[in-house]
């Protein structure tokens, strides 16, 4: 070994010693732990999800659609779940559910379209990025080639945080995808430039389909999946995992949260679907012995305005509450309740946890990756992972 190489090795080891998180990653591949993102499309009303029931301002802002003190499912002296989240209480009690409050970003945009793009690409409010934050991470540190795909999207055609990624498969059920994959026949000599890209995508489709088709018999779950669209989405996700298919990310979508009018019934129904779906997901993942190495996290384009509108609904807001759950999650409340006595000029709450800190937690603490390239610097991970 030459002297310079030797010194480089020492230098490298020194750096690793300074960064224990990164050191832990050496020798083991990241993405062995699964991330399941759940998009609450339309902008979930965080204030009626985790209710600050002890705050008189809350009841003053929401005389008609507010959740009554006696109806909430208290999780602390200040906060309580919406009554439709009953199915999440066992997770809370098992300390496997983290509630992150006050999540948002500076200069919030109130357009669904633009704000979800900001969340998906982890951009600043006035910055336009083409690639999703997960696609960026995969481009820098690819998941193992032997995985069936980098990610599977269920319940939506849009790629969200995976936009611009390569090995991403959208499916409504595994059988249908395998049936369609015969259309990616491939063959022919490998070309260069854009032809090579198309040939690679065809090969990716074939690989994903082959693994979906051959990864053992369907798992016989004892878990009962709820009726309805989100229940079916959760069932499909579990079928994929139950077949032994290896992937880094699953993205599920539950739509309908844009509750401008007559919110209470519709919102209660959605939260019920969410809670029962997540409870079923947990039970199925425990059956598959995957719960300890799965992190489930919700996200949405924005929260909703604290003051109810004239139509018994809520308009587009800013700071929001999100859930993180899994066998490795340290349950509890993170972030601070936004101050309802001090709203901004548009009547919205200020955030205290930048949404990119959720992503930094995934990258740094879950996958042991450096988050700076995908997110930029300055986003400290949260402490909700054991």
């Amino acid at each position: 070994m030459k002297r310079r190489e030797f010194l480089n090795c020492i230098g490298g080891a020194g750096l690793l010693a300074l960064a224990p998180n990164l050191a832990a990653a050496v020798g083991s591949t990241p993405y062995q732990r699964l991330l399941i993102l759940v998009e609450l499309k339309g902008g979930n009303d965080g204030l009626n999800t985790v209710v600050p029931y002890a705050d008189p301002n809350y009841h003053a802002l929401r005389p008609r659609i507010g959740i009554k003190r006696e109806d909430v499912l208290p999780i602390s002296g200040q906060l309580g779940f919406h009554p439709s989240l009953q199915a999440l209480l066992p997770l809370w009690q098992a300390k496997e559910l983290a509630v992150v409050q006050g999540v948002g970003y500076p200069d919030p945009n109130l357009s669904h379209f633009r704000s979800i793009e900001i969340w998906d690409t982890a951009s600043k409010s006035d910055e336009y990025l083409q690639q999703g934050w997960l696609a960026r991470s995969f481009a820098r540190t690819p998941p193992p080639a032997a995985f069936a795909a980098d990610a599977v999207v269920v319940g939506s055609q849009d790629m969200g945080p995976l936009v611009g990624g390569r090995r991403v498969v959208a499916l409504s059920n595994p059988e249908q995808f395998s049936r369609l994959a015969r259309l990616a026949e491939g063959g022919g000599a490998m070309g260069g430039g854009p032809l090579a890209h198309i040939q690679r995508v065809e090969a990716d489709i074939r690989q994903a389909a082959a693994k979906l088709a051959t990864s053992g018999p369907a798992f016989a779950f004892t878990t009962e999946f709820p009726q309805g669209g989100f229940g079916a989405t959760v069932r499909t996700a579990c079928q994929v995992l139950g077949a032994g298919v290896e992937i880094a990310v699953l993205r599920l979508t539950l739509s309908g949260f844009d509750t401008h009018q007559n919110q209470p019934g519709a919102h209660g129904n959605l939260l019920g679907q969410l809670a029962e779906g997540l409870a079923a997901l947990r039970s199925a993942l425990i059956e598959l012995k995957l719960w300890e190495r799965t992190l489930v996290m919700t996200y949405a384009e924005f929260g909703r305005r604290p003051r109810e509108n004239q139509s018994n609904g809520t308009d587009h807001g800013t700071a929001n509450v999100h859930f993180a759950l899994g066998g490795a999650v340290r349950g509890g409340v993170y972030g601070e309740s936004p101050n309802l006595a001090r709203l901004d000029a548009s009547g919205n709450m200020s955030f205290n946890v930048d949404y990119r800190r959720l992503y930094a937690t995934v990258l740094e603490r879950w996958w042991r990756l450096d988050s700076r390239e995908a997110l930029g610097s300055g986003f400290a991970p949260l402490d909700f992972l054991a």
Binding site: R114, L183, P194
Partner: protein
């Protein structure tokens, strides 16, 4: 190249022209060149056009493409889009009514443009549609924010009217186009309370490109654009002198009591603007890596001509790079290219335009709703596992419907995604 040849063979099957891969001669460019030119300048050639163009020289073919055609398509605009529905009337509707109105008018709008693209009778008319689409992806506005199909229709008419005209005139007109005024927030840009959205994008995306202006230029230009607004009840452009900032501003070194038109003229006077445009045209028509020497040469001629689009396009189609072997099949077909090209070149009977609009959305190109102000990123991003499978599914459906599964091999070749 075998696959390319196969496509050409199929398409020439119905024409009387002898099939030949011979290089272009002075008098006739032959089918390979005609296929290349019409695939790039239009949306895939119909066999009859291909045969006709193959007999022309390259120069004559380019001139034929650039002949004047009427701006309005043969398809009349849908009557339900003749009325502007002001926000006050929209708000008065129930949730369901409002949604239905918006969905229906958006469908009619998309179907109209697709019918216009399908109805383009000659390669020159196809070029008009392609340039309209190019400008839609340059001067981006979206139904998602504008929320009025009528205003988006008017903007489309403006874009097609200037599609092959003078860029400067188009730029001035777009700045006062009501859909743009809404989309980039000019309507809320007032003296003392400026909104920089339009000022920033006009520099970054419409004229100079990033790195050729300073933040201070954006701030000052925003003040100059104050007063450009719309009349909420009619949806027409409205100049509001009392909202305009009459103070002195300095943009790119030019000072004075500038208004919006003066700022646009300052931007048009910058050599960067012509180069930025030519680079974008190069990526649209030639390859993803613009030739810098060629860009500067063409940009100079473009600017000297007073931004005549026909001058720029004549130079681009006539450039060595356009015809170079390494730039053939070097661009990924957009969903519009793919769908219209399949219908045209294989002479497949077109489904209803509203069905085509849905297919385009699934393939990632929802007309009148580009993803953001930067437009569709295009290139390789058009193709991922989901969109590629959808292209193939759609191809199978189209061919099966006509009992022409023999063409499956052609459309399933990976090179079929390229032009």
């Amino acid at each position: 190249m075998q696959s390319v040849l196969r496509i050409i063979l199929v398409m020439l099957a119905s024409s009387a022209l002898p099939v030949s891969a011979a290089p272009a001669s002075a008098t006739s460019m032959g089918p390979d060149d005609a296929q290349h030119l019409l695939g790039r300048a239009g949306f895939g050639a119909r066999p009859a056009d291909l045969a006709g163009f193959a007999r022309l020289s390259r120069e004559a073919a380019i001139e034929q493409l650039l002949t004047e055609v009427r701006a309005e398509p043969a398809t009349p605009a849908p009557v339900e889009l003749s009325d502007y529905l002001p926000p006050s009337r929209l708000r008065a509707l129930s949730d369901a009514e409002r949604k239905e109105t918006q969905v229906r008018s958006a469908q009619a709008l998309r179907a109209w443009w697709l019918a216009a693209m399908l109805g383009a009778a000659t390669p020159a008319e196809q070029l008009r549609e392609r340039m309209t689409l190019f400008w839609h992806n340059h001067f981006v506005s979206s139904l998602q924010k504008v929320k009025s199909a009528k205003l988006m229709l008017d903007q489309n008419r403006l874009l097609r009217h200037h599609a092959l005209g003078h860029f400067g005139e188009l730029l001035h007109a777009v700045g006062k186009d009501p859909a743009m005024v809404v989309y980039l927030d000019s309507a809320t840009n007032r003296k003392g309370n400026p909104n920089e959205n339009f000022a920033r994008e006009v520099m970054e995306l419409f004229t100079l490109g990033e790195g050729h202006y300073a933040e201070q230029d954006v701030k000052e230009a925003a003040r100059a654009f104050t007063g450009w607004s719309i009349e909420p009840d009619t949806g027409e452009f409205r100049w509001r002198p009392f909202a305009h900032d009459n103070g002195s501003k300095t943009v790119l070194g030019v000072s004075g009591n500038l208004d919006g038109d003066a700022v646009l003229d300052i931007l048009l006077a910058q050599p960067q603007t012509a180069e930025f445009l030519v680079r974008k045209l190069w990526r649209e028509f030639v390859s993803l890596t613009p030739d810098e020497g060629e860009t500067r040469r063409i940009a100079r001629r473009f600017r000297d001509s007073g931004y005549d689009m026909r001058v720029a396009l004549r130079e681009i189609f006539g450039s060595r790079g356009f015809w170079a072997a390494e730039n053939r099949l070097a661009l990924v077909k957009s969903p519009v290219d793919w769908v219209l090209g399949t219908l045209n070149s294989l002479e497949v009977e077109a489904p209803e335009p509203q069905h085509l609009a849905v297919a385009l959305r699934q393939l990632g190109q929802d007309l009148f709703a580009p993803p953001n102000v930067k437009g569709w990123p295009g290139g390789e991003t058009w193709i991922n596992s989901s969109t590629l499978l959808q292209r193939k599914q759609l191809a199978e459906r189209l061919l099966r419907r006509e009992g022409r599964m023999g063409l499956r091999e052609v459309v399933f070749d990976p090179a079929y995604q390229l032009k």
